[in-house]
């Protein structure tokens, strides 16, 4: 027998970062719940994630003992609230490796972040200019661009999709050209699960001098994302999908771009000075944070970032990769089930959409619900992707750090029951 020596520094199976899923689950009160007397099996994290006690408590404590408005008061409570808010911004900046915390703008959700860029950058477009998106975008990265192109006369164009649910880059050089002003793409698809490889596209975007925005709503919660590494100009993501509260999202952008962009929402805090006859504007982040910001929500999002860091994003990504491989295998045993999107656990996230024979997803979802299994059904705010594959609706199971293989087994059992009922 020959001994195999693994060279030093090579990854080994034992090196994979791991965590104790049961211990994580214990932090999420809702996971102990039942529905209709059945154990809750929450497989809808791509829709919204559940919240650990640490996040819930951070917000409750903030409201109970440190609540005040920010950036407006000299008083002690105001200083405490402002420090908490700034601190959350710094945590989020570090989480995505932003060069400066000033580049992190707190919005109400990812949708607002996408609208800010569409309106501020897009408002300057002219007829003849082009904007490029793709057929797998969430509605939140389609409609803002449709609206601004309508207003300005610019042209909206898009990447098509391959049969495997990946971006069709075959016409990249024609699609992204000298007329292109901005390319805005989903990084991880919320319907197909695809993680888009962006290197070739980025190179082309730089070549033609356009801007690049990535919708990272389904990426940042699940794996480390480094804005410098990706050489991107803007990203959007949303608090409630990453263990944080509703009511907060993030727009990250390069500081020099943000400070040169016209404001979008007008109001308190985004100004330098206001006269009835005209106003000058503050720099980022204040420039794009009109009105009282989501203060307690920022505190909650900061606590969520702390929680994710305490587990480790690499460990979370690995856990999800294993779950995805397990689920793809398990679902392939269900007769009549057809997966839309990549069928291998590579270049994809932990979100799997499918049809089950002729059974309508509403009915699949209802049977699963009766067994406690919570999945999302419908068009997943991505109708063009459904149209591309000729389906009106899909059933979608999506996983997160607290998901177990036992929950995937429950899903598979539920699908068998749906088949018994509807065929």
């Amino acid at each position: 027998m020959t001994a195999v020596t693994i060279p030093e520094g090579m990854p080994q199976y034992g090196d994979v970062p791991r965590f104790d899923v049961e211990r994580v689950r214990a932090d999420f009160p809702i996971l102990g719940r039942e529905v209709y007397g059945e154990k809750l099996v929450y497989l809808d994290s791509a829709n919204t994630s559940q919240k650990p006690q640490q996040v819930i408590e951070a917000m409750a404590l903030h409201y109970a003992y440190h609540n005040a408005n920010v950036a407006r008061s000299v008083h002690a409570l105001g200083a405490e609230a402002t420090a908490a808010y700034d601190n959350a911004r710094a945590k989020v900046a570090a989480f995505i490796n932003a060069p400066s915390a000033n580049e992190v703008i707190f919005t109400k959700n990812a949708t607002e972040a996408l609208n800010i860029v569409a309106n501020s950058i897009g408002g300057q477009l002219k007829p003849g200019d082009e904007v490029v998106i793709s057929e797998m975008e969430h509605h939140s990265n389609i409609v803002p661009w449709q609206l601004i192109c309508e207003r300005t006369g610019a042209t909206l164009r898009w990447f098509g999709l391959t049969e495997h649910g990946r971006l069709d880059e075959s016409n990249l050089d024609e699609l992204v050209n000298e007329r292109t002003k901005i390319v805005s793409l989903v990084h991880t698809s919320n319907i197909l699960g695809t993680i888009n490889a962006t290197a070739r596209i980025t190179a082309r975007v730089r070549e033609v001098g356009a801007l690049l925005m990535l919708d990272c709503s389904q990426t940042v919660p699940h794996r480390g994302f480094d804005v410098v590494d990706y050489d991107v100009d803007f990203i959007a993501f949303t608090g409630h999908k990453m263990l944080g509260p509703t009511g907060i999202g993030v727009l990250w952008g390069r500081e020099e771009l943000l400070n040169a962009m016209p404001p979008f929402l007008g109001g308190g805090s985004m100004i330098e000075t206001v006269k009835m006859t005209g106003t000058t504007y503050a720099k980022a982040p204040a420039r794009f944070e009109a009105g009282t910001p989501p203060i307690a929500e920022a505190v909650g999002l900061g606590a969520a970032v702390d929680y994710l860091n305490s587990i480790g994003m690499e460990a979370i990504a690995w856990h999800e990769k294993e779950l995805t491989a397990y689920a793809l295998d398990a679902l392939s045993t269900v007769e009549g089930l057809k997966i839309y999107g990549p069928k291998v656990p590579v270049g994809r996230g932990a979100t799997i959409s499918f049809t089950l024979g002729q059974i309508h997803p509403h009915d699949v979802g209802q049977v699963l619900d009766s067994l406690g299994v919570q999945v999302r059904v419908g068009h997943h705010c991505a109708k063009p992707a459904c149209d591309r594959f000729g389906v009106p609706a899909l059933t979608r199971a999506s996983f997160y750090l607290y998901t177990t293989t036992a929950e995937i087994d429950a899903l598979v059992r539920g699908l068998d029951q749906a088949k018994r009922m509807f065929s």
Partner: protein, 146 residues
């Protein structure tokens, strides 16, 4: 959860053997309705003769509840006067809005009483109502024209 309260046999029967499905000529009005939350769609035509609903034809995609409800609508309303049809319509809408607290009248609603269980599932009420709302819209358009 008692799934069979929702999916009563009558519903599953109508779903598997839909009555009156398909788009037919002649028609006095055609409408297209969408359920924006789930993307279900129905195209529905209505034909009146004098005061009478002589045909309702439809085509669409949707779940068992929305398909069965269109089928039941066809069975229940075709052949009635517009006034009678609208009375049944009102009873059905009331039942669906009742959060499961209303006991339906079988004399008025016929097979549609099977949908009583749906009223407990707010997310599915819209499915059951899709074709019924389309019908009301279609009838209103005919009446507008005349």
């Amino acid at each position: 959860m008692q799934l069979d309260q929702l999916y009563q046999d009558i519903i599953l029967d109508h779903y598997k053997h839909p009555q009156g499905r398909g788009l037919r000529d002649p028609f006095a009005a055609e409408v297209h309705h969408v359920n924006p939350t789930c993307g279900d769609e129905v195209t529905l035509r209505v034909q009146l003769e004098g005061d009478r609903v002589v045909d309702v034809s439809y085509e669409g995609q949707g779940c068992s509840i929305s398909q069965a409800s269109a089928s039941v609508l066809y069975e229940l309303l075709v052949g009635r006067s517009v006034a009678e049809a609208m009375a049944v319509h009102a009873a059905f809408v009331e039942l669906m809005g009742g959060k499961g607290q209303i006991t339906p009248d079988e004399d008025v609603l016929g097979d549609a009483i099977a949908f009583a269980g749906v009223a407990k599932y707010p997310a599915r009420v819209k499915c059951a109502l899709l074709s019924w709302m389309a019908l009301k819209d279609a009838v209103a358009r005919v009446e507008e024209k005349s």
